[in-house]
């Protein structure tokens, strides 16, 4: 196999600690405790190696990355190397001073999640009292500091009637971007699918509204729209291809081809503290296994779309078919697609309101 090109992006999950308990969190169901986290010097070393390797953008995420007291030092290290830094935050713990300090350290962009457009919904989903007001306040401080803002709106059955208000909220907060991101049903969200998954008609209605809003707000607000892939015809090009241009790092330094890859337990993962990042990217088992298209089976192998969507999500293929090298069942060409659709429709019609909140030590079957 030819050597891969240099990676462009890195998702750095600095910690799994988070004051919010959103029931669709993209972190693993088995969360890492704070004593497993890399120390400041180790993160600085990882980021230095990342810049050397060609990474141009780092998304500082979590958990809640602002719980790391060394966040300013990490941002400064990346900024020094010309790496674009994006802070992905719940924002409830950010003070005006902290935002100013991060801006001074060279932070390029801030993304704040909003669980709803009113205090009741935000509190119901985040399980955090006063979350909405704190987020609004932090978003205004971000703009006052001259930093650009993306409003991230995870959409599901408890808030799908607020898509229109999310557009108003983004405009009111002077955001540059709005992500209307339907929850993807892996990990925590999969556990909560009967409470969260909207029906296909609802997703179609959102798509029509977003298309119109995009036209109306050209040059004013960029709107990204992500649908749940259960209702798509073709799978998402997960990570832009396995080991193609991005990687994720867990709080303990484990380097992954995608943030959920640890659900594929047949893969061997390396830690950035044990092995140089370049070697992990270029030669490790976990990155080599599904890189390119050689590993594919039918119907992917002979599919003209194989270089567009790379067979979809490996974690979802494993979770739903038992084989990580199978075609993602989100694809209409997958023999498991109809079963997936039936499962999704059933889940969306069940309408159980019981939410399992994200907690360290929470019990639940680990599913991709």
């Amino acid at each position: 196999m030819p050597a891969p090109g240099p990676p462009l992006g890195m998702l750095a999950e600095l910690t799994h600690r988070c004051p919010l308990q959103c029931p669709y969190c993209s972190n693993p169901v088995d969360l890492l405790k704070s004593d497993a986290e890399l120390d400041t010097d180790s993160w600085l070393e990882v980021f230095t190696q990342a810049a050397d390797l060609g990474i141009l953008q780092v998304h500082l995420s979590g958990g809640e990355p602002a719980l790391r007291q060394d966040l300013e030092a990490l941002v400064a290290c990346l900024a020094e190397r010309g790496v674009y830094t994006n802070l992905i935050t719940a924002a409830v713990t950010l003070s005006e001073q902290r935002i100013a300090d991060l801006a001074a350290a060279g932070l390029d962009h801030v993304q704040i999640s909003f669980q709803g457009t009113n205090p009741e919904t935000t509190e119901l989903i985040s399980h955090y009292k006063g979350a909405h007001e704190k987020k609004l306040r932090a978003a205004r401080w971000v703009r006052d500091a001259g930093l650009p803002l993306t409003v991230n709106a995870p959409i599901h059955r408890c808030n799908f009637d607020q898509v229109e208000q999310f557009v108003d909220l983004a405009l009111e907060l002077d955001a540059d971007r709005l992500e209307i991101a339907n929850v993807q049903y892996y990990g925590w969200a999969y556990l909560n699918r009967t409470a969260l998954l909207p029906g296909p008609e609802e997703v179609a209605r959102q798509a029509v509204f977003v298309e119109d809003a995009r036209e109306r707000l050209t040059g004013i607000l960029n709107i990204d729209f992500v649908t749940p892939d259960y209702y798509a015809e073709y799978p998402k090009p997960c990570m832009g291809g396995w080991g193609n241009d991005a990687m994720a790092i867990m709080p303990d330094g484990t380097v992954l081809p995608c943030h959920a890859a640890q659900t594929i337990t047949s893969l061997n993962f390396d830690r950035a503290t044990d092995r140089p990042l370049a070697e992990i990217w270029n030669n490790s088992d976990a990155f080599e296994r599904f890189r390119g298209t050689e590993w594919m089976q039918e119907p992917c192998r002979s599919c003209p779309r194989k270089d567009l969507d790379f067979g979809g999500c490996r974690c979802q293929a494993l979770a739903l078919t038992g084989d990580a090298a199978a075609t993602d069942p989100a694809c209409i060409k997958s023999p498991n697609h109809d079963a997936l659709r039936r499962m999704a429709t059933r889940a969306s019609e069940t309408g159980s309101g019981e939410l399992i909140y994200r907690r360290i030590g929470s019990q639940g079957e680990p599913v991709a």
Binding site: P6, L8, G9, G54, Y84, N86, P148, D176, I220
Partner: protein, 101 residues
């Protein structure tokens, strides 16, 4: 509320603070970094973007490029304006005359 920037001859286009044009030593080409995206603008795009400093007007950029490329201004005016409008509509270029960044 912010308004859509319309590129006029007297507009002073600029890259907003969250958009960075930098030369990538490793890959030996220009990279444009923006929220959630990395772009690889071609040589002509880079020549236009480098001139978007918030001071030069569209007209000045056109005549500067016409000079460098030894091409008639009228020929490139439409192309440059269309390019800048497309980029403004993606919020990758803003106009200083709108006092907005």
């Amino acid at each position: 509320m912010r308004e859509r920037a319309i590129i006029e001859p007297h507009s002073q286009p600029a890259l907003p603070r969250y958009v960075r044009l930098q030369f990538d030593e490793l890959r030996q080409c220009w990279a444009l970094l923006a929220p959630e995206r990395v772009m690889w603008p071609d040589e002509i795009s880079v020549d236009i973007l480098k001139r978007c400093d918030g001071r030069a007007t569209t007209d000045a950029i056109v005549s500067d490029l016409a000079n460098d490329y030894a091409a008639p201004e009228d020929e490139i005016r439409q192309d440059v304006t269309t390019f800048l409008q497309e980029w403004a509509d993606k919020r990758l270029v803003v106009c200083m005359d709108k006092a907005e960044i």
